[in-house]
Amino acid sequence: MSQPTTQARELSQYLTFILDGEEYGVPILKVNGIQGFERTTPIPNAPAYVMGIINLRGEVVPIINLRKRFGLQEGTLDAHTVVIVVRVEQADKTRTVGLVVDAVADVYDIKDENLHSTPDFGGKISDTFVRGLGMINEKLVILLEIDHLIDWKRVAEPEPEAATAAA
């Protein structure tokens, strides 16, 4: 159950994007850049949501399909598809990762105190991934905890076919 932390800064900026009709947000400080989708090199035995790796200015970066990761319906990958490059941290290690989303939306300032905790709102995506909910002009934005998006220990193991959103 994500709760806004009391230690968090008063105001945080989020970059929001669209995924299957919903708007999600990630802290802008974690975003390295945005680019179009390009062909990935697949990795054998990787989970289905790991689409593969790409060359990002000389660095080898994995691309994560968020729809697949969240267990949403598969979308089409076309010219509008966007990859948001973010910095993911886990246990002192920082990795650069690309997230495939439908489209980029906007940048918002959200006060931490205005974050709502996530109720059981249909269980579309697992609570581990969600930091909190923000209300922007009557619109609901789901703020993601991107550091928890991937369980790196399990990533190299082959996953069963029916991959669900359970972390």
């Binding site: 062909r39 990935t40 090199t41 697949p42 990795i43 054998p44 035995n45 990787a46 593969g52 790796i53 790409i54 060359n55 000389g58 660095e59 080898v60 970066v61 994995p62 990795r95 650069t96 990762v97 790196w152 990533v155 190299a156 082959p158």
Partner: protein
């Protein structure tokens, strides 16, 4: 120097440098000592040893490691006696010096990791050193100037870190202690020596310092002034009579004259007799107490991460210069190409293409040279690794009661730093084994007509595109029959298997083999050769053994020059491009369907010139969903690769070209992927995975172990 580095990490960096200097110094001392023992008793060597110890002492003292400084001081004092030839070089003396080196190594290690060292051993060795000095504790002059009047504090680690924070540490004696007594008048007679000015001193400095302590009045005394004709402007003729009204005590006043006490006559007397009082509160704590505090500090430093050299290297300036030159040429190349394209109006077709091609060729050459130059920077000579072996052989052979000489050649051969770091352990094991099991005892050797002193030869050289390291001994050689027996017992071979001597010898690298069984000697210990082989293969190398009974054995290690760059064969499998390490490829064949056998309905083998090679469909390995595994392989390309003496045939769709690739780690932004060495970025900017042939072969072998019979005859 980076201004942005915080003071603390600045200090850490310097401490690191100091520790590495200590280690270098210790290596130097050890080398010198071994030379002395060999009879090379020259003054130059003794001086080198002395200087090494002196440097360590100086550094240790400065960084506040008083225990190290004190220990080294005793060592240094003894070395000085040798230097002045008061003491002769004898084996027992060298032995105690070597023990001192060991103690210091442990101390330096403790400095680095923040853990404790064995104080008992240090005490024992120190006592032994003092014993050599004639047993008198006073024979050793005070180690560090802690008791000297000129420095009332010493740089314990806290003081040194005061530098890090760039702050003034409030020291007791700098600030005037709150005095209950009123200010006292002092008469100071100050007569600087004639050379005073020539030593860079200025009376004003003294006066200014005194003025800081209270109210100062000056009265110059001119009686020393000569006639004008005899006057030398650089000579000091003046003296002063000073009156100082201050709350500071005599010691504090005297301190102002610290620098010039040898250069002047100084008299400091109070006008009235001083009232009886205890030692001035502003005085630093008694040295004994300081010593105790220091002792507490030095042996145990704050626990740090204990990370050893996290990845820095020292590089010859020349290598950097080469790099700079090449970068310069790159810039010129680029400018040239720019110009060609800019001036293209009026020129077209063949002429333009020709100029561009020229420019690109030049660019290619410069880039290649740049790449080589950068790789060169990571290259370090093997001497770094080899240097610890003479001492090892010396100690171990003494312990085993054998006479063994270690010969080293080719230690200037350079290797990539990452490879270098990981070759030390395997070499250590090989040399240990040669000492333990290879070289026979003196009696056995003499009985066999060999010289009593055994020889181990450690040699390195560049051969082809690799580095070859040989560890050979002139000992008993491998016992082929015993090896075969053991292998039989362990089920590694069949009783009727026909194996050549070299094939049998290679069995020692199989897991479960203890080297003790490998030779005629029965010794309790033995390091598994399988560990040695896997360590070497992990860094992309190979190891083989050649042995002759009664004559000796040679272990031959082949290593790639660098880990970061690989010669690769590009292949296409199901539309994707992969890279196979060229070194592991034996040959390529076009599949003749008639030579395919399918065992147990699933496993495919290929009869290649009478031998059965297991076949793997790369599509299966690459597990690309949706690609059907082919049934019919006829006409397909099969690449035979070798790993750990096993061959495997890989079916691919297409063979592409060969070229060097830069290995990029998958772990940087992802995780280690089993079966893959890493990834690389091809010329067209796409990413290709690099296949790990070793794991491929191992996995296959494990999966098919039931059919070992079919596979066993492959080793050639």
């Amino acid at each position: 120097m980076h201004n942005s580095t915080s003071g603390h990490s600045q200090l850490e960096e310097i401490r690191h440098i100091f520790i590495s200097e200590c280690n270098d110094g210790l290596d130097l001392i050890e080398q010198g000592l071994l030379e002395l023992e060999r009879g090379n008793n020259t003054l130059a060597i003794v001086n080198d040893i002395f200087r090494g110890a002196h440097s360590i002492k100086g550094g240790a003292a400065t960084f506040g490691y008083t225990n190290v400084a004190e220990f080294t001081h005793v060592l240094e004092t003894l070395l000085d006696r040798v230097r002045t030839e008061e003491l002769g070089v004898t084996p027992p003396l060298v032995q105690v010096f070597l023990e001192a080196v060991d103690v210091l190594r442990a101390m330096v290690q403790a400095m680095e990791s923040g853990e404790d060292y064995d104080d008992a051993q240090a005490q024992t060795v120190q006592a032994a050193l003092i014993g050599w000095l004639g047993g008198e504790q006073d024979a050793v002059a005070p180690a560090v100037a802690m008791t000297s009047a000129t420095s009332t504090t010493h740089a314990d680690p806290t003081a040194v870190s005061a530098m890090a924070s760039g702050q003034r540490e409030a020291k007791g004696e700098d600030s005037l202690a709150p005095q209950t007594a009123p200010g006292i008048l002092w008469d100071i007679h100050f007569k600087p020596a004639p050379d005073f000015l020539r030593n860079g001193n200025q009376p004003q400095h003294i006066f200014r310092a005194l003025a800081e302590l209270g109210t100062l009045t000056l009265q110059p005394l001119l009686d020393g002034l000569p006639d004008f004709s005899a006057f030398e402007p650089e000579t000091m003729y003046l003296a002063w009579s000073l009156t100082l009204d201050t709350q500071a005590d005599a010691a504090r006043i005297r301190e102002v004259f610290d620098w010039v006490e040898l250069d002047a006559e100084i008299d400091i007397t109070p006008r009235q007799p001083l009232p009886e009082k205890a030692a001035a509160p502003s005085h630093a704590p008694p040295p004994a107490q300081e010593a105790a505090v220091a002792e507490q500090h030095a042996p145990r430093l704050e626990r740090r991460g204990g990370k050893k050299d996290a990845g820095s290297i020292r590089v010859d300036i020349e290598k950097i210069d080469v790099l700079l030159n090449l970068v310069g040429e790159l810039v010129i190349n680029q400018a040239m190409l720019n110009q060609v394209t800019r001036n293209r109006s009026g020129r077209h077709g063949k002429e333009l293409a020709g100029e561009l091609e020229q420019g690109l060729l030049l660019l290619e050459r410069t880039t290649r040279e740049l790449q080589e130059a950068v790789m060169e920077i990571r290259m370090l000579p093997l001497s770094v690794t080899f240097s610890r072996f003479p001492r090892l052989v010396h100690d171990l052979s003494a312990r085993l009661n054998k006479q063994v000489e270690l010969k080293i050649t080719g230690e200037q051969t350079e290797l990539d730093k990452t490879v270098l770091e990981r070759i030390g352990d395997p070499l250590l094991h090989l040399i240990r084994n040669a000492l333990d099991h290879g070289i026979e005892s003196m009696e056995q050797r003499q009985a066999g007509g060999k010289p009593a002193t055994g020889e181990i030869h450690l040699g390195a050289s560049h051969e082809g595109g690799s580095v070859v390291i040989r560890v050979s001994d002139d000992g008993a050689g491998l016992n082929t029959e015993r090896i075969f027996q053991k292998a039989l017992e362990k089920g590694l071979v069949e009783a009727d298997a026909k194996l050549s001597d070299s094939q049998i010898h290679d069995l020692i690298f199989r897991p479960g083999f203890s080297t003790a069984d490998v030779v005629t000697d029965v010794s309790g210990r033995g390091v598994g050769m399988d560990v040695v082989r896997s360590n070497i293969e992990e860094i992309g190398g190979r190891v083989q053994v050649h042995s002759e009974r009664g004559k000796g054995s040679t272990f031959r290690i082949t290593l790639p020059l660098t880990l970061a760059i690989l010669d690769g064969q590009l292949i296409r499998v199901a539309g994707e491009v992969y890279v196979l390490p060229l070194l592991s490829i034996v040959e390529t064949v076009q599949v003749n369907a008639a030579l395919i056998n399918v065992i147990s309905g699933r496993e495919v083998v290929y009869r290649l010139r009478g031998k059965a090679v297991p076949v793997v469909d790369m599509r299966e390995v690459c597990r690309i969903a949706g690609n059907a595994v082919l049934e019919d392989y006829s006409g397909k390309q099969m690449i035979i690769v070798e790993s750990e003496r096993r061959h495997v045939g890989l079916i691919v769709d297409e063979l592409l070209d060969q070229h060097q690739v830069v290995i990029k780690s998958l772990e940087t932004n992802f995780v280690k992927v089993p079966g893959m060495l890493g990834a690389t970025i091809l010329g067209d900017g796409t990413v290709s995975l690099i296949l790990d042939v070793t794991t491929l072969a191992q996995t296959l072998h494990r999966a098919r172990r039931g059919d070992d019979h079919a596979v066993a005859t492959i080793t050639h």
